[in-house]
Amino acid sequence: MRLITHNMLKCHVKNCTDPDKQFPLRFKDAKLEQIEAERNDEFLVRMLPRIEWAALATTANELGIELPKEVPANPADDDAFLQGLHTAIMEMHVKEGSMLCKGCGHEYKIAKGIPNMLLAEHEI
């Protein structure tokens, strides 16, 4: 699972409703692997508006991946920024571990790189 996918995941337990705590989910015991990928600047720039930047930057930093706190004014012309973004969202994979909701504490597991967002009937 790439961090770009993590940026799209939000706790959906029925009684967990505090939007400030449901997202982003916090990694626990995350096992990371970097797999090189070809960089496509045009795609990265196009993807930027779909990303919750603060959540991505915080999460990346917690995992020891450097990202600036804010998106620079001209991201398309900022090579260092684009390289950092590419590494963070395209090359870093979380292979094992889990993601915790800061609101209700629900633990979503990640196994073999696949997050499990399924809930039990009573949690939906």
């Binding site: 790439r2 770009i4 996918t5 939000k10 959906h12 795609f43 779909r50 790189g113 399924l118």
Partner: protein, 220 residues
């Protein structure tokens, strides 16, 4: 027509016994995506989602249609064997250069809040077979095809959510059979502001299969 069908030979392995193998419905969907190749590329999608990816054949094919490194594709399935099969299909495919991500969930649960208004291409080959309601999700295999009354019970849970998921130029590709009452499906989505039309159909044995494509505004 040029794009190769993704290699799903690994589905013969016992760990994938519960995963739906590509069949006529799958291939019709591939054909619809391939014939829309130009307009799909012109859309410049950033985020694509396939719900119920099964073998991963369609997700991997969509990756080939769009081309390398230019879109994120998220494939969901409730069956962990299907998630794993999709991952392997993606890895074997010529589309491996496209970020193909998997998530175990029902429909888009856990993703829907963040993906609202953000999905450029949404694809769903639902469990459309007409069955007794009790058969729905009775086994991992049944989850792939058992659709309950009119083959619509699973799809109908998702339909009202679709307009909110799509980006302004977003598209939704859906596989149906005649028993699903596709015109009624189109009416339901029209009430939510989506226009749709049948883009391809084919008879396969007893099934009269069609692909519908929905979007906001005119449907070409």
């Amino acid at each position: 027509m040029g794009l190769p069908t993704p290699d799903t030979a690994h589905l013969r392995r016992p760990e994938y016994a519960t995963v739906y193998e590509p069949a006529e419905d799958t291939y019709l969907l591939l054909d619809a995506l391939e014939s829309d190749r130009e307009s799909l590329q012109a859309l410049r999608p950033a985020v694509c989602v396939e719900i119920g990816s099964g073998s991963g054949c369609v997700s991997a094919f969509l990756g080939q249609v769009l081309g390398p490194h230019c879109a994120l594709i998220i494939s969901t399935d409730i069956n962990p064997a299907a998630n794993a099969a999709t991952k392997e299909t993606a890895a074997r495919s010529a589309a491996h250069a496209v970020p193909l991500e998997q998530c175990r969930t029902r429909f888009v649960q856990g993703l829907d809040a963040r993906l609202a208004g953000s999905v450029d291409v949404l694809v769903f080959n639902p469990p459309y077979v007409v069955t007794p309601t009790a058969e729905i999700d009775s086994t991992p295999e049944a989850s792939a095809w058992a659709g309950g009354e009119h083959g619509r019970e699973v799809l109908d849970q998702l339909l009202p959510q679709i307009p909110a998921l799509l980006s302004p130029a977003g598209r939704f590709y859906l596989v149906v059979i005649e028993e699903n009452k596709p015109e009624e499906i189109a009416q339901i989505l029209a009430a939510h502001g989506l226009q749709g039309a049948r883009v391809l159909s084919r008879r396969a044995g007893r099934e009269h299969l069609s692909i519908y494509r929905f979007s906001r505004g005119c449907a070409e």
